[in-house]
Symmetry: D2
Subunit: 345 residues, 4 copies
């Protein structure tokens, strides 16, 4: 009963997931791969026991040996591959973004609703991070009262040359948007984006940014993105409730006393910070698919909502205005919370 998986897109992230499915988590086997660059796909397949190389993603999806699909290809191709997977009735795990426009996301929602049950999961891995889960558990326990504010910090030591102004929102803050929706259990309703004094290490980028986001119920969220801050990859978050607060802890495993400092380490990059979350994400996805549930993690609706917030964020970045976030009605298919905190682990 091993789940036979096909992977579309065998670049860095695709290869990492293939390694994970093959050597780390149990219950799945990669049996098919495809990439826009056939040579890369063939090279990757050569490292596997028994994997077919497909000329196109569509062929891979159609392969009867493939039980479920993972999409790690270039963002603009996601819509077509996810729709094809739904058409084939196969569970599909799609890295973010679900699709590059809200309209494309709605096409996927429509197809999945027509199918009648969930098949699509989006790769918002923070929901599988032990610290975020513990944070959600504290909120849900009522220990700090009803949440009133949330402060989210997203810090990268540096970004690649192709990183553009918009990417602080659509590539970086999108994770903060999703995890905010999940932590608070509600949609985001409006967004302002305010530029701070620019970091001279960030070239022409407007960096850092402060985004002030309001949720449906009025919780005020501020998201700081600092993508050239050098000192490390650091994810911060504090929920301010009526009677207390809860925050992600610093995560260094060791405390060193040296040279008049007491210190612990900060991760160097997102891989280091979230590697265990990715493992759990796939372990739970495999278990859900194997149990015939299709998907229990972040849904097409979550992918859509994130995309609408990103669009509003980009509009707010350019206009300087408070931009209202408007979503279509939520189909009943997504009514059930897509995920609950699991027991401590």
């Amino acid at each position: 009963m091993t789940l036979r998986v096909g992977v579309i897109g065998t670049g860095m992230i695709g290869q990492d997931h293939i390694r994970r499915l093959t050597h780390v988590v149990s219950g799945a086997e990669v049996v098919a791969v495809n990439d826009a660059d056939g040579d890369v796909a063939r090279q990757v397949a050569a490292g596997l026991k028994n994997a077919t190389v497909h000329a196109t993603g569509e062929n891979l999806i159609a392969d009867p040996a493939v039980d479920a699909v993972i999409v790690c290809s270039w963002g603009p191709t996601h819509e077509a591959f996810v729709l094809a997977s739904i058409a084939a009735g196969k569970p599909v795990f799609c890295e973010k973004p679900l699709a590059t426009t809200p309209e494309a996301c709605r096409n996927i929602i429509d197809a999945e609703v027509a199918h009648g049950s969930r098949l699509v999961q989006v790769g918002f891995m923070r929901r599988y991070d032990a610290a975020y889960r513990a944070l959600k558990a504290v909120i849900d326990s009522g220990e700090i009262g009803a949440p009133l504010m949330y402060s989210s910090g997203h810090r990268n030591p540096s970004v690649p040359a192709h990183y553009t102004k918009d990417m602080a929102i659509v590539d970086t803050a999108v994770h903060d948007f999703d995890v905010t929706r999940w932590l608070l259990g509600e949609e985001l309703a409006a967004i302002r984006v305010i530029a701070a004094k620019p970091n001279s290490l960030g070239g022409d980028l407007q960096d850092p940014l402060l985004m002030v986001v309001e949720t449906e119920s009025g919780v005020l969220v501020n998201v700081e993105t600092s993508v050239n801050i050098r000192y490390g990859y650091d994810i911060r978050g504090e929920v301010i409730g009526e009677t207390g607060t809860a925050a992600l802890a610093d995560r260094g495993p060791v405390v060193v006393r040296s040279g008049n400092r007491v210190s612990s380490s900060v991760p160097e990059d997102w891989r280091q910070r979230f590697i265990a979350a990715y493992d759990v994400e796939f372990q739970e996805w495999i278990a859900a698919v194997a149990a015939g549930e299709g998907a229990t993690g972040p849904s097409a609706w979550d992918g859509y909502a994130a995309q609408v917030v990103c669009d509003a964020g980009v509009a707010a970045l350019y206009s300087g205005d408070r931009v209202v976030i408007e979503l279509v009605d939520k189909p009943a298919l997504y009514a059930r919370p897509s995920e609950r905190p699991k027991g401590s682990r």
Copy 2:
């Protein structure tokens, strides 16, 4: 050469300063007191070795036995007492606010400039707190690069019944405004005030609030005020620089492991949090006055600037708009930084 001090206003804060001057710090003696309630003044004087009770603040200021004046009376009376002290050529320490309007503050500035040297110090005690001084020392060291953002949190467990909506700005956030100006060494230029989902424990107050403040050079400051948060009196602050950040540490002196928690204590109120800062504030004021410097701490200009920011903040609270903060030209008398971080102590 003991400094002979007269105290106007012998309510709670006045009595605390009298205790401090009498029993804690060296170099001063309280020789005269005055209060709107003469009985209170007489009672306080009875506890002192050798203190005269004056019928009016003006009389106290005029008393030749009084070398320097401390003003702890009701805010609306500050302007007159400070102006009288300047007229008498006596150093005067005035609790915040310096005066209740920017215009009144400007009157004081004009009088002090006319006098030709500094006599006025305003009671912004945070500048004397060891943690804030250490924070400023890190900024000034360049260790985290140029500051780009500053995040300030001001949390009170509860506020008295007479606390009104505006007081979150003029009474609470005013400390954050002053300490921001001091930490960053520049003026504030604009302010937005955004209300979060209201705390149900806060009655009709708009609490918590998020204030987004811009400095002259573009540093983006966000100030969170939560004045009904129950869990304790907690002052937070993190400066985000180009290459790192520096934050006030949690201050609990002891770590307790008990009942599946590792914990340390949070102060119950501002007295507990800032008692040592008040001690240092007066120690340094006495030393400066004794040295003939008049005042080296927060100046009339600082009091004025804080008041203008507060006015702008209240306007922003009611309008919902971004309000520009406009100051008059800064007299040369205040050109020199009013205070520098001292060596570790």
Copy 3:
């Protein structure tokens, strides 16, 4: 190329490892089980896809469908099962203790040396814990200079009724002994055991205990065992080097501010604390066995050395004396360090 594993002993720990091999880590399948209680074995097998129940551990070991053996049965049976596995030329993972006497451990060493390559791994899971690995990495980096002292704390909220005085050493501190040998890369040479004022919650036990252990090179190790301390399961460790120290950090993922405390959580038991370490332990064991290496983790030598230290510790507990720890010569088979810290993960 899935590794086919047989599990001897299907009690609590055996069942947990079966869950782990089946649902968490990749690359192995449990194909055979045995237990002293046949009903339990049959029940466990019924939950597996394709597992044979064997009447005896020996039968299981002899089963050609079994590639490798995991021994989780009662301690006194370990020697026989490990020897049988070696005789069969099959890799064997044995939960601690390797055997209940140093002599029995030496029998295993002799058999493995005769076999000519490593087949045996002992279940000292702490070596797979991320925090201990980070601690070892700091030591090995030279950042704190040569280690001079090590302070180890082992705290249990409570122990079961059958827990006897000796078990503080042979069941509890044995983990500290092994991890000390591994962290410092040398053998232990002498031990004193000193009883503290007894915890009234610990009945007749001598609890807590302080063990003062000397390594070959003179590093002084103090081990505190507190097995009725109620507040949580807490593992502490600090290495004191020539120029600095390195310690295991507190591990709570979330910081909560509530009720005048800033706090984070302490694990409730060892499962919660070391669950991830067990996962890594088996992932690496499976990878090593699959690669034909037999075992790369804690060796029969490590199991033997731990047992000798435990014997000396028990003697020291009863005599009050400093007891010298004497080991036989180390066979060349074990010359190579049994494990190195891996890259951060």
Copy 4:
């Protein structure tokens, strides 16, 4: 009613106390000084408003203008100056050691008992440190149950060339001994001293040392002294109770994120660490003397007990044995606890 103080010994520590009495704490004035080096005494007096230089300590004590005496001279002179102060009926604050032998300490006790009320206070400043007081408050609150063990760490970055082997006990660990007696409220009963692997930066010293001390009631105390550890001056302490533990927190006021580390500072030396404790120590001494109580802090008995423990410790260091600590009967004068934790401040 300013307390007129004479200071015997105007070296580094004497000068620091003179600065403290003159410029920091209230209620005292230094009116007389004496030093073995008359030039130094004259220089120090020149910096004071109104201080007489005495040719001998005895003269200073006899001076009717002197209300109370502070002894900061060389240890071997302490006995005579303290006895002379008692003979003169004057309160005397004596830096540690009270005297250099237990016999000399007993002479002082006998004289003070004959006098009939307390006049002597010994300079164990740790009892005035905010963190130690908070630690004692937690113990006394019962929150962690009855204390069973105490772990004390005393780390110096380096020691001067004249520092000898014994000084790790009589100069360094003596503070740990006193604070242990005070925290636990009982006497120490036996001591072992065990040398760790020597720090190569410590020359011929046996450093670090582990001292295992037993209290009367059986609490087990381990004291680590590391006096060449370079990284900073770091004082650690954790009390292990029946149901929890309480420890001195790390004290850095600011958390810096920089270069892949989250860090806070460690003090460079004992002055930096305990400066505030010295201030409180003298503030409370002045208040007690002014109130006619003679002394409320560490008593001659405390000075005696510390000296006996030091003697036993040195014997244990040389013999390697467990040495029993034997005290004479405690006079009723010292029955009342010499100090209680004050309310949080």
